[in-house]
């Protein structure tokens, strides 16, 4: 052990190499991260992923009548799943089934069954009502509760909704009711009169949903 520290020229060289390696590692990682940016493709709002909107006609989403217009006369208190059918920029008809959030649950209840907080003026004669059918918890499709008519049961984590009361949450983890879709009747078909009245699954805040609506209105005008 000596009391004097010997200045070793090797050290500075080592330092230089370390610094050089550090820098190149940094640059390398940065460029990798920027390359990672390509992992997220750009989102294009096309007619088939656009949300249900004014003027769309509801068509069956499943079963033998898939793709055909949902008739008001064939509805009951059993859930009927539907997709909105609209037009793209060229005017050809397109079923908006590429975004799972567009799936709808349509019911027809006996007069007097539908109550607040359902927006009654967005239903047909306070009897036919449409909701978005993706659970607000994790986006599973919600089905009928086999035990109580008018109630809905999510098979994923037992979320429960009351379809006769604005799909408010009866139990389970869902944080918000299913969104109601305003509709009217034209002949025997159901026509959408606007956007979902509250945020559907996938939007954490009302503002996000409203912002998205604005974007859709601009893009689809």
């Amino acid at each position: 052990m000596t009391r004097y520290k010997k200045q070793d020229p090797e050290i500075t060289r080592r330092k230089f190499i370390n610094a050089a390696m550090g820098t190149s590692a940094g640059v390398g990682v940065l460029s990798l991260v920027s390359a990672l940016g390509s992992a997220k493709p750009v989102f294009r709002l096309t007619a088939d992923v656009a949300p249900p909107m004014k003027g769309d006609v509801l068509v069956h989403a499943e079963g033998p009548n898939q793709g055909q217009v949902v008739k008001a006369s064939e509805l009951s208190d059993k859930l009927v799943r539907a997709y909105p059918k609209g037009r793209d920029s060229k005017g050809t008809e397109v079923i908006r089934d590429k975004d799972p959030t567009n799936i709808l649950a349509v019911y027809k209840f006996a007069p007097g069954t539908l109550k607040e907080p359902t927006k009654l003026d967005a239903t047909i004669d306070a009897q036919i009502v449409a909701y978005g059918d993706r659970c607000t918890h994790a986006g599973c499709n919600v089905g009928d509760d086999p035990k109580t008519s008018g109630h809905m049961f999510c098979p994923c984590h037992s979320g429960q909704y009351d379809a006769t009361q604005g799909c408010r949450v009866l139990g389970g983890p869902p944080p918000a009711p299913l969104p109601q879709l305003p509709i009217k009747q034209e002949g025997d078909q159901l026509v959408v009169t606007g956007f979902f009245l509250s945020r559907p699954y996938g939007f954490n805040k009302e503002e996000d949903w409203e912002e998205y609506i604005k974007k859709v209105e601009e893009a689809m005008a």
């Binding site: 990672l36 493709p41 799972p100 918890h137 999510c154």
Partner: protein, 437 residues
Amino acid sequence: MNQWLDERLHISRLNDKFLRKAFPVHHSFFLGEITLFSLIVLIITGILLALAYEPSNSLVVNSFDPGTPDKQNLIPAAYHSALKINAMPFGDMLRRVHHWMANIMVAAAVVHMMRIYFTGAFKKPREINWWIGMLLLIFAALTAVTGYILPYDNYAFQTVGVVYAIVKSVPWVGDWLAQAAFAGQFPGAGIIPRIYGYHIMLLPGILLALTGAHMLIMIKQKHTQPQYAKRLAYKKIVGVPLMTQQTPIMLILALLFTGLVMLFAAYIPVHPIEVFGPPSSTPIPNIKPDWYLLWVFGALAIIPGFELELLGGSINAEFIGAMVFPGIVIGLMFAVPMLDRAKDNQYYAENPTNHPVRLAAGTAFMAFMLMLSLAGYKPDLIQAGLLTTANSNAILWILVIVVPVVIYFVTIGIVRMIRALREADERDSLAHAHADD
């Protein structure tokens, strides 16, 4: 020729270093091997499956049921190719073996970890291998989940929807993260190719690299020695060498094990994709993840829904239940080697009853996981009328908390009893030894 090879590849050194590695003689030391064999079979069956699989979710005409010319029956190409795999000779069998092997691999890994934990084999100097083992477990689960999505039937579709929701629930960056991970908004046009890449390249690569590290470290550090080795030759490695004694044992075990899995794969069908059908909006009743993820699912089911704004990001029950909570549990498991402060290296496997707190904590932890898994059955329990919407959360929460506590104290009690009996035995034999003199 031997010499020719040896001069170039130094096989004799390999022989001394690796092939003479001593394996302890105890059946519990085969659990890790079973995990390894399952991984090998998984890779072989996986390659065969990949040869026949078409990784694309663009729609094609179903060749088994084309529909009519004006209304064609279109299904995703991935689902179509899965149907074709089922139709090819032994194709269904291949899928079954792959499926069951994956389950057995995770099961064997879990039991293997229990052995490590209860015998204290995670202690110094083997901490690193415990951590690598944990990573292996996590990546094995991720690989399994991505594998579930590939057939792209309705079940897979609904599953990937929930997985997407979980990734998306991360505050601030969730949206970007989910879109980057799943190639765009769910279900993006490139979702299946993306997950295919994960399942056949990225994740198996990670698994193989980790397995390699795991085993190299194990060879370097040697196994912990079973207790009998202490009596036989203190501080010496006791066991059978890999070459030539352990190898036939391993081969027999591997073949027997694979044969057994093949046998029951022949009888037990897996995941009937024909029944679930192509992706649709029809919910699947009783949808559940695999058993090793059921505890996360259970946590999600009993954590009540809430949303909280924090600095512009929103934190919801989904994030807490599927990210934060499992993070804590996995973090705890990672921390296991830190519980032991011993400075000395651990040579011998410990008798679990000599460490009652560790033993009881382990059993309580397992009870905790089991109870959470039970909570995963909440929708079914409600539908069966055993619980109601109103009381289910309370009852399940009580079970999740109380049962592990009870198990903890019961274990401690049992260990006390065992030790009292053992001491009595020792006193007895001591007394008799004196009498014999």
